[in-house]
Symmetry: C2
Subunit: 317 residues, 2 copies
């Protein structure tokens, strides 16, 4: 009867909505700019609802063919209550009960989680961390996010905020971070800090990540050194994660992971050199393989896993 | 029928053996110096076996009244195979299949785990972390160890070495640590480093931890500053753990945790100041309450939990 899941990836730049079938293939997807709705949270939610109905109509899908809706958001979520705590890059979302709001408007079952958790879930079930039980995912971008798979389950922590690898301190008296901490990994390897470093060291005002990557590919020593330091810092933060969690795999995704394979090599080298021997020996470092759609697929998995689980639980009673 | 469990706490200084009843009360215990057997691993194992039989005889316990044997060791353990990987402070234990060796000699079921894991298990089931689901334990001493309770279970990681909070790096180019890493927490707050700091700053050659603690209790500013820096460094490493794991409680035990309650206050203050707001707000920092016997009680819990679980599994089939 059910055939499709609706996935929403609410991003700081774009919001993407996809119609995904039971085999987790994307049947159709649309995207619109989130920025147009920055000062109007309710209009953003209404836009999502309108777009969902348009997507269903266009694909001749009936409401009863939809299993449920999964939504990933770029910030911490109270998973149990389906509530966004806040979104660091989208204003006016503090304590938004997005699950209840969408359920009321859509009359579908809705599940909400942090976007990096959903990417982690997707890479674990279908991507680079398939067939593992203990995996760590890291996403590199403006923010540096993380997700944990422990003993074969997405691990969310006591208030569902676990996985913040970007906010592991790398120094005692490092620079202030947006999160309130000091010397966090993100403060050294987040896009804007890499670019500000590049601007200074290369003396190029209009540098961007594409140009920086081109320079390093062409053997520019300054650019290579920037990437090298960048990978080393990631490796040092992951050394702490490896010693603490003892995962079998680390999956790295997001913009800067595309700068070249030498980044993965340097990260693994740093872990091998610094982490405890048994933990270091076991762990592999791999590139994420699902790309930009990982979040959409993860949102579909979230719906599928939760609803099948509930059905099974009912059957067992 | 079963009434007792035998617990062994193999320590770098002393080895302790206890007879523990089903309600987890210690009925009797003995202790002997591990150092006498440093160059003779097999004689140490034989001594343990002899002492166990003596303990049983003395208490008029028959073999069939023993459910099993739990042993905690000060180093990483392959929990699945019952094998010690190595013991950093006791030589000649590389790849010792201690479970099989003891089972052959004793004809009891034997379980082996890392000593900090067992302390964590005890604090979780009966101690400071009772009635929680996500807890982090930290032990302060010569080594700085850690254990994790995640979703109500002891978390061991992919090769059973998780929990090494003492080896989270606090700086990128910090001093070399015994583990092979750089700038690890242990390298700043392990007993010997605290004492070497105290020796320098107080200009006292024969300082020890008791004297240092007395000085700070009497308001000696240098001693207070040493403890303050010590607690801050622990707080910074735990900031990373809190952001990554999102636990509801952190339990701190071991020698230096007895220096005074201001240490716990300073650790919590540091976390409040530096960790991400939702994670920081939730987490409590508490002193371990089971003291030196935590490891013995944890070893008994390990036996009880594993054997009851197996029995239940059998029943269900």
């Amino acid at each position: 009867m059910f055939k499709y899941i609706i996935s929403i990836d609410l991003g700081g730049t774009n919001t993407r909505i996809a119609l995904i079938d039971y085999a987790l293939r994307i049947k159709d997807k649309i995207s619109f700019s989130t920025k147009d709705f920055f000062s109007k949270r309710n209009r953003l939610i209404s836009e999502i609802v309108v777009r969902i109905f348009t997507l269903l109509e266009k694909n001749h899908i009936r409401k009863r063919q939809i299993l449920g809706v999964g939504i990933g958001v770029p910030g911490p979520v109270d998973f149990l209550r389906g509530k966004v705590y806040y979104l660091p890059n989208i204003p006016h979302w503090q304590n938004t009960a997005i699950r209840d709001i969408l359920e009321e408007k859509l009359h579908f079952k809705v599940f909400v989680d942090n976007d990096v958790n959903l990417m982690t879930l997707a890479e674990f079930k279908l991507g680079a961390a398939k067939n593992t039980r203990n995996a760590v995912c890291l996403t590199l971008g403006t923010g540096v996010g993380g997700g944990l798979i422990l003993e074969g389950e997405l691990f969310r922590g006591a208030s569902f905020c676990a996985g913040e690898i970007g906010h592991i301190p790398l120094s005692i008296s490092g620079p202030k971070c947006n999160c309130g901490g000091r010397g966090c990994l993100e403060r050294y390897v987040g896009n804007r800090y890499i670019l500000s470093e590049a601007r200074k060291k290369l003396k190029m005002e209009n540098i961007n990540l594409v140009k920086l990557s081109e320079l390093s590919e062409n053997g520019n020593r300054v650019a290579l050194k920037i990437y090298n330091d960048f990978a080393e810092k990631i490796g040092i933060a992951l050394t702490g994660v490896v010693n603490l969690i003892n995962p079998e795999i680390i999956v790295i995704g997001g913009g800067l992971s595309f700068a070249g394979d030498f980044i993965f090599k340097k990260v693994k080298e740093t872990i091998d050199k610094r982490a405890m021997p048994i933990q270091a020996k076991l762990v592999r470092v791999k590139k994420a393989i699902l790309g930009k759609d990982a979040g959409l697929i993860g949102a579909a998995l979230l719906v599928k896993d939760n609803l099948s689980y509930r059905r099974n639980k009912k059957l067992r009673r």
